[in-house]
Symmetry: C2
Subunit: 446 residues, 2 copies
Amino acid sequence: MVAQVGQAAHRVLIIGGGFAGLYAARQLSKDERLTTTIADRRNFHLFTPLLYQVATGAVSPGDIAQPLRSILRRQRNTTVLLGEAVGLDPARREVLLADGGPLGYDSLIVASGARFSYFGHDGWARDAPGLKSLDDALEIRRRILIAFEAAEREHDPGRRAEWLTFVIVGGGPTGVELAGSLGEIARDTLRRDFRSIDTRSARINLVEALPRILPTYPADRSASARRQLERLGATVRTATRVVDIDDHSVTVERADGTRELIPARTVLWAAGILASSFVTAVARATSAPTDQSGRIEVQSDLTVPGHPEIFAVGDAAVQPWKKDRAVPGVAQGGIQGGRYAASMIQARLSGETPPPFRYRNRGDVAVIGRLAGVTDIPWLGPFGRQSGFPAWVLWLTIHILYLIGFANRIVVVVRWAWSFFTRGRGSRLITGAPLLPPIEEPEPPA
Amino acid sequence: MVAQVGQAAHRVLIIGGGFAGLYAARQLSKDERLTTTIADRRNFHLFTPLLYQVATGAVSPGDIAQPLRSILRRQRNTTVLLGEAVGLDPARREVLLADGGPLGYDSLIVASGARFSYFGHDGWARDAPGLKSLDDALEIRRRILIAFEAAEREHDPGRRAEWLTFVIVGGGPTGVELAGSLGEIARDTLRRDFRSIDTRSARINLVEALPRILPTYPADRSASARRQLERLGATVRTATRVVDIDDHSVTVERADGTRELIPARTVLWAAGILASSFVTAVARATSAPTDQSGRIEVQSDLTVPGHPEIFAVGDAAVQPWKKDRAVPGVAQGGIQGGRYAASMIQARLSGETPPPFRYRNRGDVAVIGRLAGVTDIPWLGPFGRQSGFPAWVLWLTIHILYLIGFANRIVVVVRWAWSFFTRGRGSRLITGAPLLPPIEEPEPPA
């Protein structure tokens, strides 16, 4: 199955086609000493930083995803495989797939990422979907739009308010961007679409357990993000954790122990991460240490302790950075980790020993609604700390540059330019289960 | 719920937001004597003529669909409602929704369309999905792409051939355009993406029960379409009907009674139509006559016999045209029927009696693969009968002009221009169930 360029070629197997896996494969592109196989259970690479834009209807799924086969079609030494890795036999150097025979390797790069952690409350997943995959984004888009539709048809003020209340759990970049985007939709995009409700009356709540949102940013950036969210009408609750979720409400607990019940029909989850199940399988098979999220504690060369032929990168690993801090779970972390692991494999084939992995912080950008945001880009000096409109422009530039696929870039720019000028959103389609939940009390005949 | 502009306003209720329903609503746009409510179980209008392009990955769902609320947001007399109509009480003049109270009306326009008919073999729907909705298109796209992925991983030549064999049932415009598009994908788009299979060896079979494909076109256009499909490598079987379908094969029967079993993993259905279940409910409640597809046999003014206040238009009705022929089930039929019904309502309010409905045939265009097609546009004279590249250009122009939403038009043009020059397809994402069916015989360890 795996095309082998001669018997002697070094076989690199990459599990996962996210940022870490894809950039590892690209790094190995022209190296004729090896063959690369990249396996993913999806057939596409997803530009996850824009996933919340799919969830809020600004762009289409096809705009931020590109088939792995297309991206890698010119790399003749690379095979793309659709399949889910479920197990590892480190002694035989084989990865087991859920739906096919084992894949052998000489070097393995584990880049299968992470998903959201419900902190042991897996039952919450039904009422509070997380935003990790394209299918998640479409489900969240469906729920958001259905909520406004249901509010439009609801006569009881209390139940209408429930439909117009949104809770986002987690004040990291995903939660902040989701909240900002939702605020923008409610205040601007949908405003003139409905006849019975004022969409601006929607209440958007962002709940964060830590004392401030965007905890990986400097404190003044967090404060600025909070102000910008509040200007969009969102309510930010920090030092507050979620203790219960059902289909009508969220219960939160403040640091002082007081509790509050927020009646809300739409809850979105953007808190905590948990390593993918393949990472857990790798850790078990190699007896590797993991952190509380299940990510592998790799060595300074990103290899699994005791297994120099196995690398763990991106969200699958705790990539070392500063002495008290790991590389954050952002695209850059995956890109740099993946490239490093690939170049390590190449260096070994050349008999070299490269220096340990060193993360270069390129900075963070989060966008808040239509024209605002915060940035923290250390290497730009004071210029790297922007708020509001300049932050939004920086964000736009960076994201368009990193988006894979030239046609996608044009299409996304067209969509944004269009929605910018019209304040509309082109992709507000409800796909999947089409219907509203039944209205609890039938309205009297007109 | 329904905003009423004064008590005296005439209440028009439109069920269905396809071509017929949408153009009826637009016709009523500025008429202050009436209020319009348009209800659909989807929140968007779908440009169905391009649905096969979503199914084959050329465009994204968002490119060919637009929320009804956005399209109609400026029509202050119009309310959009997300809901599924399930019953009619003609005496009380009320439509019942699956998930809410009844909707009253003074005039009703039934425009809830049709779906595919499996001719009594409803069990075939599982193995041979039809192409009517956006979700259908995504499911078909998933199956087509999974088939190539499965073939890439399959070692047994027989089973690999099964994965690379596609059967399309129905030689109308949808079937022909699907077959052409699939031929193009296999010969061009995917060619360099795979390592183990030659996608050009894919076999595409088009099966039509009538003696020729595109039976509503003139005979020479049918012959030209057949030649163009065969040039793309497709096999066209006419006067052949499907007698059985399972997940591994299709059995067909020729006019002479001989049977043939075609081993194929991917079967797509584009044959026969059946009125929607709301149309059936309307026919039952009004004792209206229906044709064998369940469409209502309307009078010359498109009203249901005995109910001058109820119109049935588009695919919900047998709209009269020539004495031996009804209006074909194309977008133009819906647009003209919907507009006529709306203008009838307006004329009545003015005390006028307009002439009976008269269909103006604007002609037909079908595209076959990347640069070919056939047209039959009577009013253009000899110029209206094109084949090959000129037909494709005509088709492109017409479709872009009729696509609703300006941003969509630009985006679709960008996508097409891009895929034209690169021979790529931007939207080849497998969403939904991500995994391949298990491979039947595990391959030996590498």
